[in-house]
């Protein structure tokens, strides 16, 4: 019961969080700002998938969360590398 309610609240909060992060992504102003927003969205998505796995009793989705966590880090690093390279 507790979990059921918590899940709904969590999903709501995460939904809002995703949209907020998008605001930063759209606004920038600098490229690193957007990268930060994208990175955050990746983490938020990890959270969202975790919650969803709980609400649906489908732990297989956690695998998706793992892969996302692994890979979004890589994306951020690549982006950062690009930012730095372009700056020179």
């Amino acid at each position: 019961m507790m979990v059921t309610i918590a899940v709904i609240i969590a999903l709501a909060m995460l939904s809002v969080a995703l949209l907020l992060a998008l605001v930063r992504l759209a606004r920038g102003p600098s490229l690193p700002d957007r990268v930060v927003a994208l990175d955050l969205m990746g983490t938020l998505a990890v959270g969202m998938i975790t919650v969803y796995a709980m609400t649906t009793q489908q732990p297989v989705f956690l695998d998706v969360a793992i892969v996302l966590a692994l890979i979004s880090f890589l994306g951020t690093v690549a982006f950062a590398r690009y930012v730095e390279k372009r700056g020179s």
């Binding site: 969803y52 649906t56 489908q58 297989v60 989705f61």
Partner: protein, 115 residues
């Protein structure tokens, strides 16, 4: 949700096509990418949605518990995603070379081979 996704897909198509209609080659390729997402989502939606239940047979069972999501469109989309990835990678390098050899990213200036 099919209805909502129908609108999302339509909007993605519109966005992708609009981007492709720009003169900038960079926007063209972003448009193409969006179009790819739209097409995949379309297959996903058109063959019917099932919430959450993945087509994986649980331990101790010999077939998945109904209702489960249709695995076939998933496999098709997976194939399409992978193909799209290859195409996207190649197209990216292609525009990179095109800009390098042509010295511009303005598609309107790339029309020497037509007439």
């Amino acid at each position: 949700m099919e209805t909502v996704l129908a609108f999302v897909i339509g909007a993605l198509y519109a966005a992708g096509l609009y981007m492709m209609l720009r003169r900038s080659i960079v926007k063209l390729i972003i448009g193409l990418a969006i179009l790819g997402h739209a097409a995949n989502l379309l297959i996903f939606t058109a063959s019917g949605l099932t919430r959450a239940r993945s087509p994986i047979i649980p331990e101790a069972l010999s077939r998945p518990l109904a209702p489960f999501a249709d695995p076939l469109p998933q496999a098709l989309i997976l194939t399409a995603i992978v193909i799209g990835f290859g195409v996207q990678a190649f197209a990216l390098v292609l525009i990179h070379r095109a800009v390098q050899t042509g010295g511009t990213d303005d598609l309107d200036k790339m029309k020497a081979t037509d007439t």
